[in-house]
Every structure is written in structure tokens, then in C-alpha cells.
Symmetry: C2
Subunit: 310 residues, 2 copies
């Protein structure tokens, strides 16, 4: 029987890092070779996105435990984009990566269950190992996702404290002296504590932004059995140091996502001159390795694998 | 220039009712003819969903102003389901219906913009007239949707007070004595008041459940320029009387959704004997007409069209 929380721990230990490469294809940022001699209609874009994401996966599969395709950019290309998304997800799985689909879905009752049945688990039509979901509709909207995830050994990441500046509009409102995100955090913590795998973590995780290091620390303490998916690293301003509090003493407990900073590294000043457009895959590799090194230097990630090394 | 809030008013006046038929195809509820001699794999299901929804549209297009496809049931069928969804949306538009896609999408910044660009407006690849969105990520996640909607004359319905029993977990939490949903309501009210069309309504609407009539009345008073999309009628327990407070004195301001109660009316005790599986379209028609009659009898909807009648 699969257990997503446990599979994540195994993959992070094997790779000795918790980096998630976000697959956020954007037409205007693609290396020139993907856009040359190609129309910019949505079907052509979808084909380019699939090719580009496959080639990113080729580079990062030996280095990191997981990728996170962003559904929005594929959906923007219509049905052809959704086919590209499915193909990219299958390709990443075949290359040994865990696939976290960033869809931020939410609905109630049997509709939530339809999303869950469609997306969650390798036997589903989309075959995601995990899915991001949004909690505004309350616990009876989250529970159908949790039930299907548990049944299939798949995972979830519930939005708790997001990385954007305006996230506080609802999330930081005080309820009896505690911010609203703690209400969501409590639900998630209960779900993960109730079904932990080897390693002590459950399969129902939380999204907590790298841009709020104090809240990362607070939530790490409050949710000892919960995997965090941490966006906001790199382009949004979060540093390796900012993520330190998200990890437990062994270097587990948090997955750190980087999207643009890795897949479009050929445009970053640090890599532009050495790689540029034509050697964009070299830039992806260098940016991934640099992020891993930064996390290993600045956080408990450095301790990963030390117990099973000679 | 299109203006969704205005188009909705025109369509409601023309049809003399505000009924939205929810297109929520479910395999086990389809009339037998759609399942006979057909495999139950996701691709075959997608084809059946498309055929079924087209035939529902054939019945309801002359009667109601809008349909609301539920993305989840199409997504559950994988990429083939998404193609079916796109085809159903195009078919409904061609038949003169407004199409409100129920996707409850949400994300931040340029990712939110990607969803908005993909879905909103008839010139987009999906071609939705309006989309439902979720507010947990805050105003900076809603604004990109609003900006694209305004630019394209399309509409939005933001989740405010949902119809499910557990919605209160976050939505009803008190912030300085006011429930959290009022914070979202205020944002939506400001957006709609800032850009009203003929008829006094904006294009940024709110989802408010029929299962909470007191809150419907409270929010109608607080959001005089905001269209409501009201789920929860019928199968979830809301009655025509429960929706009365959602309307303004002219009978405008609220769209009342019914999904299962209409599209699977052939299974309801009231229609089963007269129609049954083989005459399921007759049941759809009868259920739609009965719902219209109930709203006309119990709410200000009865006043629609009286001014331009002879």
C-alpha cells in the first residue's frame, strides 16, 4: 500500500534534498528554440509546453524528488493544453519523479470527490501523486479529497498561509486572538497526525509560503506530522535561510518549490552569460544544483542521508 | 463592448426567469441510453457526457438564460473530458445561452491571470461568459481575474457564502463582530459598484447559497450592484421561497442554479412515472418549467417582463 507522506520522505532522503521544480511554462519566457518556426496559437503553445517540460524533466529527474506542474498555464491552452499536462505528468512519473499537481481545486460533496477521483493516485486518469486544494468552503469540502487520498495512498497540500503579499486579507484575520490560517492548520494537522507513515509524516500537507518565515516556524511547531509545500523561494523573494524553520531536526518536513528561478534560469543574470538561450538546460541544471547547495548549507537539509552514508 | 452584468439582465428579462441549469454529468445517473453498449472507461464517459449535455442544452436553451457546466465532472474524465467540456460550452453558446463555468479557480499574480485569460470571454480558448473563483488567497489573487474580466466584458462569481453545511468553518468566523464572508462581500461589492451596466449591476458577482436565506437577505442589502449566483436549490434543500430575498424589487439580481434536480429529473419521484428513462428530455423540460413557475409565484421574478408586455 502506497503512503504519500512516506514516499516523500524516502525520495527526499534518496536525493538528499527537498527541491520541487515548478513546471510553469510561459510562452514569452520559453527558450527561443521552442518558439521559432511555430505559430503562437494555443495548440502550438501546448505542444511547445509539453516539449519544454519534458526537457526540463530530463535535467532535473536525477537531481530532485518531485515536480509541480501548474495547471493554470496548461489550462490557458484549452483542451490541447490539458492533453499536454497529462503527457508531462506521465513523463515525469516514468522518470521516477513524484508529481504534485498545483490546481488549488475546491468544491463540495460529490463534486469535490469527482476532482479527487480524477486527479489523485497513479491509477487515476491524471495520475497525480498529490494535489493542492483550497479551504474556503470548509471541512466538508476538504474531507472528500482526504478520503480519496487516504484510500489511494495519494497526498494533498491544503492552502494554509500562502506566499503572496495579499494573502492576509482572509488568512491573517484574528479569530479569538488566533489568525484564521490556524483554523485550517488545525484541520490539516489532525488529518496528518491520524495517518502517519514511516518517518512520522502524514499524507495531508500544508502550503506555507517561504515569504513568511515566522509563520513557517510557528506552524512547524504546531503541525509536527505535516509535510509543508513551501512556495515563494527565489523569484518571490524567499531565501534558503527563510525556509530553515520549515524543517525538522533531521531535515525532513518541507518541500521547497522553485518554478521560474529554475526552469527559466537561462534568463537570470547569474546564468545568462555562461549558458543563455541555446544552452538553457545547462542553466536549469546549474540553478537546481545551486538551490540544493544553498538549502544544504543554510538548513537541516544538510543532515539528510548522513545516517546511511558510510 | 460586452458587459456581462448587463447581458445577464437582458437575458433574464428576455426569458422572464433567472434559472441556471447546472451541467453536472455523473455516469451512474445518466439515462440508460447513454450507457448502453458503451465501455465505462473515461474516454467513453467523456463522449457520453458531451452527448448528454448537448441534449440537455437542446431542451433548456429556449427556456432559460444560462447554463453552468461543473468542471470537476469533465476533469474526472481526463483530457478527453476537457475536450468534451469545451465542446459543450461552444454548443451552449451557439444555442444562445450564457455559459458560467463552475471551476472555483484561484491562484496568485500571473498564474491567476493565466486562468483568467484562458477561460474568460468569448474570444478566449474556453470561451466562458463567466467563471466561479475562490477567495482564500486574498484580494491580490482576485484582482487579476477582475482585470481580465473587465477588459473582456466577461463576468466572475466569487465564493462568498456557500451552500454547504460546513461552509461556516471559515466563512462564519467573526472578525470584529462580522462574519468573514462579509470581508469577501465588501471586496466584491466594491468591484461591482465600480463598473455597473444598464440595469445597475456589475460583472463581478457573488456565490451565495439558497440554504442560508437570512444571509441572502443581508447580502442583498449590502451589495446592491452585485449579481448573486445561488446554488443549493432543490437537491440541497433550498426552495423558491428561500431565494426570494436574493432578488431586487424588479426581479433581477440573482441567478438560481439547479443541477441534478433538472438534468436528472427522470429519476425524481414527481417525474419518474410520467417520463422515466426513455423520455428523460421530457422530464428535463417539465422540471425546468416547474422551477420557473415556482420562482415566478414565490419571488419578484413574477414581475419580470411586465413592463414591456402589452
Amino acid at each position: 500500500m502506497n503512503h504519500f507522506g512516506e514516499e516523500l520522505a524516502v525520495a527526499v532522503r534518496r536525493c538528499r534534498n527537498p527541491v520541487v521544480v515548478g513546471l510553469d511554462p510561459r510562452w514569452e519566457s520559453l527558450p527561443a528554440s521552442f518558439r521559432q518556426n511555430r505559430a503562437s496559437d494555443t495548440e502550438s503553445q501546448a505542444i511547445a509546453y509539453e516539449e519544454f517540460c519534458r526537457e526540463v524533466v530530463d535535467v532535473v529527474a536525477p537531481l530532485v524528488p518531485a515536480v509541480k506542474p501548474q495547471a493554470a498555464f496548461f489550462e490557458e491552452c484549452g483542451p490541447a493544453g490539458m492533453l499536454a499536462l497529462a503527457n508531462v505528468m506521465a513523463y515525469a512519473r516514468d522518470k521516477g519523479l513524484l508529481v504534485i499537481l498545483d490546481g488549488k481545486r475546491n468544491d463540495i460533496g460529490s463534486t469535490a470527490e469527482a476532482y479527487a477521483r480524477g486527479y489523485l493516485g497513479r491509477s487515476s486518469v491524471w495520475g497525480a501523486d498529490a494535489l493542492t486544494i483550497s479551504p474556503y468552503l470548509g471541512a466538508d469540502s476538504l474531507q472528500p479529497f482526504v478520503d480519496v487520498a487516504v484510500e489511494r495512498g495519494a497526498g494533498l497540500f491544503v492552502l494554509v498561509k500562502t506566499s503572496n503579499p495579499g494573502g492576509g486579507m482572509l488568512q491573517d484575520q484574528l479569530i479569538d486572538g488566533q489568525p484564521l490560517y490556524r483554523t485550517v492548520a488545525q484541520y490539516v494537522a489532525d488529518q496528518s497526525a491520524g495517518a502517519t507513515g514511516q518517518g512520522g509524516y502524514g499524507s495531508v500537507g500544508a502550503v506555507v509560503g517561504a515569504t513568511y518565515p515566522d509563520q513557517l516556524a510557528e506552524l512547524r511547531a504546531a503541525m509536527p506530522n505535516t509535510w509543508f509545500l513551501v512556495p515563494g523561494y527565489g523569484s518571490q523573494g524567499g531565501t534558503a535561510k527563510d525556509t530553515a524553520a520549515a524543517f525538522d531536526a533531521q531535515g525532513l518536513g518541507a518541500m521547497i518549490n522553485n518554478s521560474r528561478g529554475i526552469i527559466f534560469a537561462h534568463q537570470r543574470p547569474e546564468y545568462k552569460d555562461s549558458f543563455g538561450d541555446s544552452r538553457w538546460q545547462g542553466a536549469v541544471e546549474a540553478a537546481t544544483e545551486d538551490m540544493i547547495a544553498q538549502l544544504q548549507a543554510e538548513t537541516a537539509v544538510g543532515k539528510l542521508g548522513s545516517s546511511d552514508s558510510p
